[in-house]
Symmetry: C2
Subunit: 432 residues, 2 copies
């Protein structure tokens, strides 16, 4: 996403595709976001080259490696990386996030994904696992990871040089996990993360995805096109949360939104049009073909979207969103491509800073969102416009912070710090 979330962003004169693998570019973006007091940087990811690199700026940096370099030049902003549970080992993932949490002073977050794609499976020499299997593995993966983060109790390190006692080994635990997918002895060889557990984020909207989120996640990144859909998703997720014995405020719902900002509405619409004119239909057609599972060619551009078969596997929820959007607004394939190019299924809103703020406010007060994942169409300009014009508008309305409330990502999200499961009750009380 180094150039922006609009698929044609790289062609726009206000972006810098030549800096796609330049860490200083991302450090500048992180500093802009921190200037705007945003909660966190969120890096999407996949472990395959998705999309046609002929027509888009792809091939950037691996998120965990990148976030560590961003931690070094920021002080407050959270750092959320997407890592798949399907093609990894919990020991590595627990250790890397624990390390990032230490390096950032408690600002790490993990966006847990299960990797729906065929292309990813092919990079790891396995058949693409079925949807249910991926989620079963994800649940056990997360369980192991949490045990490893708990394996060092908060007060395990004594550091008595004179007595020669570095750590109380009664407070460092082998986890002895033996499950269906993993057998892991532990303990972790990185001490307990400052946040206890890095923040847990989830982004799938399938049934299994929502169930996983309601059980485990603390923030959900979701694509919702209309207020009604957003409200329905929000209410559904909060209901599921309660059914799992959790409080509604233990999980934050964060719909994606791509704000196209202008100093006037006309200017915003011009920028939107300018980006639309840069779209390469062949690129979007290939994406849409993958998303819908039907082969679409240039002949289809000015006709309605053909019937799309219902499948039982894969990224179903995104497919449904796309088909619903095309039907609801009676779009041709070309028009649909234009709508999707903005945020790959996420809501696109063009307008003045006040109009953008109105939208965010409406969703927030209508129980469709606890916050938002801001996906600027172009970077860095779209982010600095948001920070410089929309954030102050939200601040004067009393809807956004002037300063970070806490030191860690959890504190800024208003979430508890988990104690270690291996601690005796008294120690849990101290840790919290």
């Amino acid at each position: 996403m180094g150039v922006g979330h609009h698929e044609a962003a790289w062609r726009h004169p206000r972006t810098e595709p030549a800096r796609l693998a330049d860490v200083r570019h991302y450090q500048e973006l992180a500093r802009i976001a921190e200037r705007g007091k945003l909660d966190s940087v969120f890096l999407a990811d996949g472990v395959a080259l998705h999309g046609n690199v002929r027509h888009n700026a792809l091939g950037g940096l691996e998120p965990l490696t990148l976030l560590s370099a961003l931690a070094a030049v920021t002080d407050h902003i959270g750092l959320i990386a997407t890592v798949s549970t399907t093609y990894n080992e919990p020991f590595h993932v627990a250790r890397k996030f624990a390390s990032l949490d230490h390096i950032s002073g408690g600002r790490a977050g993990w966006n847990i994904v299960t990797s729906a794609g065929e292309a990813e499976a092919r990079n790891f020499g396995i058949e693409r696992p079925a949807h249910a299997d991926r989620y079963a593995r994800a649940a056990e993966f997360l369980e192991v990871t949490r045990k490893l983060w708990d394996s060092w109790e908060d007060d395990a390190i004594v550091g008595d040089r004179v007595g020669g006692l570095y750590a109380d080994t009664g407070k460092i635990h082998a986890i002895e996990h033996a499950g269906e997918h993993f057998a892991v002895r532990g303990p972790l060889n990185t001490s307990r993360p400052p946040q206890g557990h890095p923040l847990l984020v989830q982004a799938g909207s399938s049934e299994a995805g929502k169930d996983f989120a309601a059980r485990h996640a603390e923030a959900v990144f979701t694509a919702q096109q209309t207020l009604a859909e957003g409200q329905e998703f929000y209410a559904d997720l909060k209901r599921r949360l309660v059914a799992h014995g959790r409080q509604p405020d233990e999980l934050l719902v964060l719909p994606g939104i791509s704000p196209i900002i202008g100093s006037t509405e006309r200017e915003a619409l011009l920028l939107e049009k300018e980006l639309e004119d840069l779209i390469i239909p062949a690129y979007g057609l290939a994406q849409l073909s993958t998303m819908t599972g039907i082969e679409l060619t240039e002949d289809a551009l000015d006709r309605p979207l053909p019937d799309v078969p219902v499948e039982t596997e894969g990224a179903q929820s995104r497919r449904k969103l796309v088909v619903d959007l095309a039907r609801r607004e009676d779009l041709t394939v070309r028009q649909l491509l234009g709508r999707l190019a903005g945020g790959r299924g996420h809501r696109v809103v063009a307008g003045t800073p006040e109009q953008i703020a109105d939208q965010l406010q409406e969703w927030f007060f209508s129980e469709a969102a606890d916050g938002f994942n801001i996906m600027p169409p172009i970077l860095p300009g779209g982010l600095s416009d948001f920070v410089d014009y929309v954030v102050p508008e939200l601040q004067v309305r009393g809807l956004f912070r002037y300063e970070y409330e806490g030191r860690t990502l959890r504190e800024n999200y208003g979430l508890d710090r988990p104690g270690s499961r291996y601690a005796t009750p008294r120690e849990v009380a101290v840790a919290r």
Copy 2:
């Protein structure tokens, strides 16, 4: 290694064990090393909690995550991370090193290890693979990784915004690897690393390890106690290199050395004694028991090392080194522990800056070393002493640089930049 390479370093008043997971501590160390124009930072690693954390400062940060944060605050120094081929997937490792290479502007290096330990296997739910199997996997792992680094040719990115052509997809290749251990389609989803391939380092000294190094590595980190052994290892490796059709200068031999530096010889010996007095015998005994495969208790401390069985598996070369050392110098177990505590089998030299420089010079001119892996007994003091007193001594002798010669780690090592195997001949010529 945050407190130093002496196993009792954490108890010494000039170290800071409380900063073991503090990134700023490592950033300071990297800046000191860079001030001294050292080639690189080298981070050893394992994927289990090795050693008894009751008596040593363990549980620090994961190397790749840490090095990325060091890249952000340094400009010249190389960044070498140890990553195992036994418990990883080549796609992830290729991508993370490619990312680190981009982030650091071409300063990444990979120390390739195969993880001999039982404890590591238990964290990944598998039986510890046999020595030969680990090296067979390592060879194929590296082959896949290199193919992935080559999958984007150097001139694949076109970046033509007006024409809408981001990359020439004729120069981005699926690698279609199908081998005994891995099936990986590719291409990588991170563009070609600045160095072509990050620097390849190897550290095992078994027969299989030396063969692997002679085929693939560009630097070897090795433990050699005496000049004669060092010369033999050096000559053997360079011979093997030639047998594989490589030039002798395509691989640098870098023995480890732990310099205990004093402004007088007496001061150096006092520091050595001071550290020796801080050794906790129980800690070293446990390490030595693991290393030799025989159970050693405190009763054994003042007797010679018992007979050690020869095994066909595991870290044989280190075991032989330890037994040879005990026999050659007729050491009791307690004395052996003292010798090993300094550098876990690496050579320890106590003396003035001139005496340390003499030793380095002797090994260098006697064809026992192309360079050294400097393992300060205590950090940061042992490193700043080396940089401030030994480096200038080497410089006036004409043995060490005053300024970095190049921009990348390869350039500073005097090694070629590999071209992409997928490039047509003319393009290889351009790339080199």
